[in-house]
Symmetry: C2
């Protein structure tokens, strides 16, 4: 049975992991019989957003603690996870993927990737193990792997596609039900809520992504 890591970045689309994308990832992994290893960095969130008003809140929250809400408490600090512990890794989207796992949301192609995240992503590629990235997460993935000419999709947003190319990636336009596969680096990406509009649309692309990651993990 393949062990697949799920790298979370908080709990909520505006400051953490997009909840629907994260849960759909877990659902499809469990249905396919994979063992799931949830993880997140043990660090303060870059910000806390009120999801009702869309405005920042004067609070501090921890990425690992909030991610534990999605994982029902069964989650590990990414610092303790090595590529040898898992057969594949999936990053759900949500702004946490570009606010906490990197600072792409603020610095665009000058972004820095959180050190443990970068270490694990590079380890995975060097080990020939697949990585899936959903929604905006491919931006952080591209920055972490800028030396590997990664090929990804974030849908069709021209500014984000341009930033991805500026970070050394190649961007492919795709629809919400599509996946983009970089076979050389074993990267699988899907636009999800970069396009939406609904959870059923997003579910379709995420199911394909999970099955492709599992297929590449078994090669």
């Amino acid at each position: 049975m393949a062990i697949i890591g799920v790298l979370l970045s908080g709990c909520g689309v505006y400051d953490g992991s997009e909840i629907h994308e994260a849960v759909l990832t877990l659902l499809n992994l469990d249905r396919a019989g994979a063992e799931i290893l949830c993880m997140a960095p043990d660090m303060e969130q870059n910000d806390v957003m009120n999801h009702l008003t869309g405005q920042p809140m004067k609070e501090k929250r921890n990425v690992l603690v909030e991610s534990a809400r999605i994982a029902r408490g069964d989650i590990r600090d990414i610092r303790e996870v090595k590529a040898s512990d898992i057969d594949g890794l999936i990053l759900p989207g949500g702004l946490g993927a570009t606010k906490n796992l990197s600072n792409f949301a603020f610095k665009r192609d000058d972004a820095e990737v959180q050190p443990d995240v970068k270490r694990l992503l590079v380890e995975m590629v060097q080990a020939g193990k697949p990585i899936g990235a959903i929604c905006i997460a491919p931006a952080t993935l591209t920055k972490a792997l800028s030396g590997y000419d990664p090929e990804v999709t974030i849908g069709n947003d021209p500014a984000t596609a341009e930033a991805i190319e500026a970070m050394g990636g190649k961007h492919h336009t795709a629809g919400v039900e599509d996946i983009c596969v970089d076979l050389r680096n074993k990267l699988v990406t899907t636009p999800a809520y970069m396009l939406g509009p609904g959870i059923r649309d997003v579910a379709s692309g995420i199911e394909k992504l999970v099955l492709k990651v599992l297929e590449l993990a078994s090669l």
Copy 2:
């Protein structure tokens, strides 16, 4: 197209809505072509739990604001929602359903139901419109409808089943993939994470519940 309300109670199994159950409810409603109206009470959470350690945190959070994370911001104060606005209503589980929507988690069969929640649940039954309740949420439903001899399941936990009977309900033992249907009151319940163990098991019962609520809404 049926309009189905989804009554949330926060964001996380230990102090709010169980996230997987809430997202699976939204997924199945969207796949069936229903229009979704998310709602929650605008009130302080009874407590805030650290989902990594299982311990309480010295914080205050608002049920409506945290529920908005699951609803991606598209959510209304339950106070503004009447039974005439919706064709059916579904309550996902998680301890928020018995800490915030009522205080069953603390007072068992002496529980009080949050006033707006009780008002809407009674309105729905009086209007002959279906209500679905998942996991532990049937306990709050039973208390709100104690005058209507509600028949529900929470799985097979003897103490909770006993409390449900003490509140005027009739409890039926059921498996995680089963639904319990009270045709007279149009109530549909499923054990979900009262039994688990995994998200794929829970998904099966929730899919049946959503489809049955939609069937009853169209009668």
